[in-house]
Amino acid sequence: MSQPDFSQFSCPLPKTDYDTIQMAHGAGGRMSADLIERVFMPVFGNPTLEKLEDQATLSFGNHRLAFSTDSFVVSPVFFPGGTIGELAVNGTVNDLAMSGAEPKVLSVGFILEEGLPIADLHEILLSMRRAADFAGVQIVTGDTKVVNKGHCDKIFINTSGIGVIPEKVHISAHRIQPGDKIILSGTIADHGMAVMSVREGLSFESVIQSDTAALNHLVHEMLNVSTEVHAMRDPTRGGLATTLNELAQASQIGVRIVEDRIPVREEVKAACEILGIDPLYVANEGKLVAFVAPEVADAMLEAMRKNPLGKDAAIIGEAVSQHPRKVVMENIYGVERIIDMPVGEQLPRIC
């Protein structure tokens, strides 16, 4: 038998490109971005789409409208703190609100799996109605399709929405300036860990609740303080880390955050520890992150904290001219490290 030879350790060249769709293409990370860039953009590309914002901004005479669409396939369809229906309403409302728009109307498309209990459907519809009423939007058009059992998972929902952007409000990643303060509206990773703990049958001392919520009223209150909100996103799939990376890349500016200013619930932290998952990369469905002019940051934070959806809001960092396009985080020991885009899904570790 030959001696073990550590100098001969070698590795295979892996595939760098997949020729079929992988789950990671839908995880909101780098593979999602690649798919958009390499497959969608060459076909659909136009100036509005190429801004890569969460909503399109369209001008009609003196009026500016925000238009957005989103599809929802979450499993399970009922989870602690919400339903797939609430997510579908809040998701599109938030995509509109992130441009500063006041959401007005939604369309809803359903794909239903043969065998879905009508009682479940009814419960989902009631939750959508409640969410729409809270947000102050009307569902004005819709569509329903039914597919054979096994051709979808219970129910898939698409929503699209239109909102009106107030005068003087101009929110876009391109407006980020060095010195802008970064405000996060509350705790991170609640939604992702709520869904994961149900899906994987993990139970913790206290049930983790999804944070699904419509943020348009909170945004309205922020804009009442000042229109100097330069950029705003809701960190959904891929979590806060992905959203900050997207904004850093779009604005060509560096992002610097401080670890212990980012609020995370104790039970969420514990669940993440157990699964070996980083809460920075876990989905939120009722949080926003805003880059605001430094002189208005404190007043805006104060206003946000008066709203229950912003009660844990915090200034977590700032935009900087150093390290353009990169997100850097200072940890509790004062050491800085890069916060990168995730590749695909976060995978629980072996040990």
């Binding site: 001969q8 350790f9 590795c11 595939k15 780098r30 490290r337 570790r349 072996i350 040990c351």
Partner: protein, 364 residues
């Protein structure tokens, strides 16, 4: 978070760093064995806080990295067979074989499922009596008890549709092989805390004695790791070499007897090939003959697999502490987590992935 925050306490970290600074008088190379420790060191910036004299090098304790390529190809081939539910821990799914990975097999119709425990896979076997359920049993001594228990239970219940593709590796033989290498630079080991929780630390006593290296069973939080480093440095400075447990809340000399018993009942020690390193004698576990019906490698014929291992990356040198990931010409260029050239970049516990995620800022 109780039982965690205490071990991340910045004041304690400062105090330990000061003690290490006072203790160290000359350069030492310390290897942390476990990939979990590597990640904690880089994530928390411990390497950047330590005095210059102390160089941390990163050991081979990443099960994903050392699992042989042939086995990954074999796993993919089994997963692609009709009627098979192939189950695995999450991070094995993205490790590339010669031509594809388990994620790709799944996208092409294979029934590949991520589980958190082999007992979940066993449940799948109970629920799907007309399917063959295979579990990819990789890992060190940490995962061996659970994987042994799954086979033991299946045997007890007479479950015929459950099997494991086994590639278990053992830490102490790899530590010895590293020390025997003529290029060895390692002065002291931080032993892997979780492995020691199962196996105890008595196995390391003859190694510490024979090679005159301090071996310190160490945990994973910053305070744990700094305590481990401090203990190792103290011994090195005094010219001592013994096993000194610094993970007292989880590790005893004898380890977890019940876990060891089930491992010994189901598995036996065997020579094992480590990816790219070659065969290390008596460095792995295989199913005992009595349990051969549960050996997926025997149960499924996959034909002749032709594996391809182009020698590009320098993981072997990294594993010996001779090179750092950022000294590899491909690091961060051709080789990134999205386009990994080696398993050390794919695995969330691999040293290259840790450098990529946490360390690039300093090096750019």
């Amino acid at each position: 978070m109780k039982y965690i925050d205490e071990f991340r306490n910045p004041e304690l970290v400062k105090k330990l760093l000061a003690e290490i600074r006072q203790t160290v008088t000359r350069p030492w190379v310390i290897m942390e064995i476990c990939g979990g420790q590597t990640h904690s060191i880089l994530k928390n910036g411990i390497d950047q806080m330590l005095p210059q004299e102390i160089e941390l090098v990163h050991g081979p304790g990443c099960p994903v990295c050392v699992t042989p390529l042939e086995l990954i190809d074999q796993a993919i081939a089994i997963a692609r067979q009709e009627n098979v539910i192939f189950t695995s821990f999450g991070d094995m799914l993205r490790v590339p074989g010669s031509h594809s990975d388990l994620f790709q097999a799944r996208s092409e119709g294979a029934d590949v499922r991520m589980v958190y425990s082999p007992l979940e896979a066993l449940n799948l076997a109970r629920q799907n009596p007309d399917k063959e359920v295979v579990f990819f049993a990789v890992g060190f001594e940490t995962t061996a008890p659970g994987n042994a228990m799954a086979v033991f239970q299946a045997h007890k219940e007479g479950l015929k549709n459950f099997s494991e593709l086994v590639s278990h590796v053992l830490v102490p033989p790899a530590m010895e092989a590293l020390l025997q290498s003529p290029q060895n630079r390692v002065n002291a080991y931080l032993a892997a805390g979780h492995v020691c929780a199962v196996m105890g630390w008595w196995e390391y006593e003859p190694i510490a004695e024979k090679y005159k290296v301090p071996i310190v069973p160490t945990g994973f939080e910053p305070v744990d790791i700094l305590k481990g480093i401090l203990a190792a440095v103290r011994q090195l400075e005094r010219g001592e070499h013994r096993v000194e447990n610094q993970y007292g809340r989880a590790v005893t000399r004898e380890g977890n007897k019940a876990a060891q018993a089930i491992v010994n009942r189901v598995f036996e020690v065997t020579d094992r090939k480590w990816r790219g390193i070659g065969t290390i004698p008596r460095s792995g576990l295989k199913l005992r003959a009595e349990f051969k019906d549960y050996d997926a490698a025997l149960k499924f014929s996959v034909g002749d697999l032709h594996t391809e291992e182009p020698a590009i990356c320098i993981s072997g040198l990294i594993l010996q502490g001779l090179k750092k990931p950022n000294e590899c010409p491909a690091f961060g260029k051709q080789c990134t987590p999205r386009t990994p050239l080696g398993a050390t970049m794919v695995s969330s516990e691999g040293a290259c992935a840790a450098y990529y995620r946490y360390h690039r800022f300093k090096n750019e």
